[in-house]
């Protein structure tokens, strides 16, 4: 960590304020593959699987390695059957339901993800709480959407590669979250069921065009879950990067995320 490093970090933020940071510019991508990440990732793993933390628990580091944990609320949006519940389970390393059972209310899932900031070398635990609400439940009960929107930091807009209408509807969905009333939220687009290429209804070209129009990150997911972290790392790093970037922009160049920041309980 050097003074020069910090300064250039700030410079880049002021340059492209609300812009999406280029991938890997804020956090070290593929850090889970680096040796120095092991002691952090081991705290979120248990027998090679992701550890499930209750609300009263959190990853515990040894006393001499104090790591801050930053909390974020992320809403997963998309039509029924697109794969919201499956994505939340995948990101948390939980069993993915193979049948579509409609989610009849809000379910939240907590993901702890260690991140290394590129410039400062500082390590943080991102506590990402994913809010998943069944689309039909949202329609039947008016109180659910406001609850999902309360103090939300990011939205994942889902479309399915096997369902064209879900892709075509993205612009509508995104527009709803761009109104000033919502406040500042990170927006990411995720294409699900990328593994079902035989039934693919959305071409790579469509995705590229979309990305150019909206300049939002688009990620892909689908297929068997490997026991490693490789299939979720790109999405979680991208999300963490954008959240951190948004915080820095909001708080001003010298600011730090103060709200809700907690020191890991020893």
């Amino acid at each position: 960590m050097s003074a020069r490093g910090d300064a250039s970090e700030l410079a880049s933020f002021t340059a492209d304020m609300a812009q999406v940071p280029p991938p890997g510019s804020v956090v070290v991508s593929d850090w889970h593959r680096c040796k120095d990440s092991k002691e952090y990732f081991s705290k979120v793993l248990h027998k090679k699987r992701r550890k499930n933390f209750g609300l009263l628990e959190s990853p515990v580091m040894p006393p001499h390695v104090a790591v801050d944990t930053v909390h974020y609320k992320i809403f997963i949006s998309g039509k029924s059957g697109v794969g919201k519940t499956a994505l939340a389970a995948r990101l948390a390393g939980l069993n993915i339901p193979n049948m579509h059972h409609e989610t009849t209310g809000i379910e939240t899932t907590v993901v702890y993800w260690p991140v290394k900031l590129r410039e400062s070398g500082r390590v943080l635990f991102f506590r990402l709480q994913l809010w998943d609400c069944g689309e039909n439940a949202l329609r039947r009960f008016d109180h659910l959407l406001p609850s999902c929107k309360e103090q939300v930091d990011a939205v994942l807009f889902l479309f399915s590669f096997t369902d064209r209408t879900s892709f075509d509807d993205l612009s509508n969905q995104i527009a709803k979250w761009t109104e000033s009333s919502v406040g500042r939220v990170v927006k990411l687009v995720v294409g699900t069921k990328f593994d079902l290429f035989m039934h693919c209804d959305v071409s790579q070209r469509d995705v590229r065009d979309f990305q150019e129009t909206w300049s939002l990150p688009v990620l892909r997911t689908g297929g068997e879950v490997s026991d490693g972290l490789g299939d979720v790392a790109p999405l979680l790093n991208c999300l963490s990067e954008n959240l951190w970037h948004q915080d820095c922009v909001t708080a001003g160049p010298a600011g730090q995320r103060s709200q809700q920041e907690t020191v890991t309980v020893l």
Partner: protein, 434 residues
């Protein structure tokens, strides 16, 4: 009498016109023509002022019908095949319970209005899909040691330190603007507010089932709209659930406030952080359901104890099965649970009268008439019964307040069963006040 777990198929049709709404269960669906006939024969009976409620097929299968609120007909079909003769009565009890539970869970998710005042069948069909998760769970009954959907008593766990937890549940519920709160550990109720116990037994059981499925998914918290089939069938409440530790969930039923976000960030830590160790002790009780202070007599393989007043039950299977020297090879845990369940059904369908539940339909009362006829054959009400098979010995015992169903090793002498049962009952009630 020991029936195998065959596959069960569930059909749902509109009562007035017999339009199929959904089918669940059994990988191989019944052909449409058969579904039509099952509906037809029930309607035919209706025309003759006969209520057809169940029948047995030549292959030993069983069909049970029931119409709810004049709007929805549920039919359960179980494929017999390999069942021993004479098991039909037990099977019927199970299927009747299943239909009642399925209906209640349709109301829980969708509310009664939508089911009773059907304006658009296609829309109802689509909305009913949101009940499949719970219905499939009822059909699968996959979790060992959960008997509530059958007994309509809440599967409970007796924590080692009940008063601390009780205080926390009460305080937490109150802070969440609610009178209804409960703590569920390993899928069983460890403590609940007084009002939670005043919900109808079927509601308590169904809410437990819902909470279990949410808890199993590994999610951290939930905000689920639920209708209460008896208490509030047309107005939804919010079920908030928080996973305190994996396997330990606290829930409240509340109105519009507080929001999930606020309850989670403002209340969960405040009330429960000081109790992490108490919760861990409670988790350590595990599937035994009873604290370490209760020691079971040698020879006891499994037990189900029901408190008839509070409509709660505790059940456990000894692991590893305790078997004295020279005993026959021990039963698997799964088989013990199955035998316990079968002995329960055997006892309540033949000897012990069932508890009256608030929502017994006239049809079901007629059903029960049959078994009451059988009971009337006795000059008195049986209070104890036993059954000796190759696998184990079973003893059932009822008092004004309790029912105990006990499985014992075949090596226990038959004359000692009664003492074992009465002793076990007094040991548990003395140690836990259950």
């Amino acid at each position: 009498m020991m029936l195998q777990d065959g596959s069960t198929q569930l059909l749902c049709l509109t009562a007035s016109s017999g339009v199929p709404l959904f089918t669940r269960g059994a990988s191989k669906q019944l052909p449409f023509s058969v579904i039509g006939s099952l509906n037809g024969v029930h309607m035919f009976g209706g025309g003759q002022e006969v209520v057809l409620s169940s029948c047995e097929t030549e292959g030993g299968g069983k069909v049970v019908w029931r119409v709810f609120q004049d709007s929805v007909m549920l039919i359960a079909v179980s494929g017999g095949g390999h069942r021993a003769p004479g098991s039909s009565k037990e099977e019927e009890v199970c299927l009747q319970r299943l239909l009642e539970n399925v209906w209640n869970c349709m109301v829980l998710v969708l509310g009664q209005d939508e089911l009773v005042n059907v304006r658009n069948v296609e829309r109802l069909k689509r909305d009913l899909r949101s009940c499949f998760s719970l219905i499939d769970q009822l059909l699968e009954e996959k979790q060992e040691g959960i008997l509530g959907t059958l007994t309509h008593c809440a599967d409970s766990l007796v924590p080692p330190n009940p008063s601390l937890l009780q205080e926390a549940v009460d305080g937490f519920a109150q802070a969440a603007d609610s009178e209804f709160g409960c703590l569920i550990v390993h899928g069983r109720i460890a403590t609940a507010t007084e009002k939670w116990w005043r919900l109808a037994p079927q509601e308590v059981v169904l809410l437990s089932a819902l909470i279990r499925s949410l808890s199993d998914s590994g999610s951290a918290s939930c905000d689920y709209p639920v209708f209460l089939p008896q208490g509030s069938p047309t107005v939804a409440h919010r079920l908030l659930r928080f996973q305190l530790l994996p396997g330990a969930d606290v829930c409240v039923l509340c109105g519009p406030t507080p929001s999930l976000h606020r309850a989670e960030t403002g209340l969960v830590g405040r009330f429960w952080s000081p109790l992490v160790e108490t919760l861990r002790d409670c988790l350590a009780v595990g599937e035994r359901c009873l604290p370490g202070s209760v020691s079971l007599r040698p020879g006891v393989l499994a037990l189900l104890l029901i408190n008839r007043e509070t409509r709660r039950s505790v059940s456990c299977v000894r692991t590893p099965p305790h078997h004295p020297l020279g005993d026959s090879p021990s039963l698997s845990k799964a088989r013990c649970w199955e035998l316990l369940k079968l002995f329960y059904i055997f006892s309540i369908s033949r000897y012990f009268t069932q508890e009256e539940t608030p929502c017994v339909s006239p049809e079901e009362r007629a059903q029960r008439g049959n078994s009451e006829d059988f009971l009337l054959g006795f000059s008195h009400q049986p209070q104890q019964c036993y059954l000796v098979t190759e696998e184990c010995k079973s003893y059932g015992l009822q008092t004004a307040q309790h029912q105990l169903f006990l499985l014992l090793s075949p090596s226990v002498p038959t004359f000692a069963l009664r003492t074992a049962a009465t002793q076990t009952l007094s040991d548990i009630t003395a140690a836990t006040g259950f």
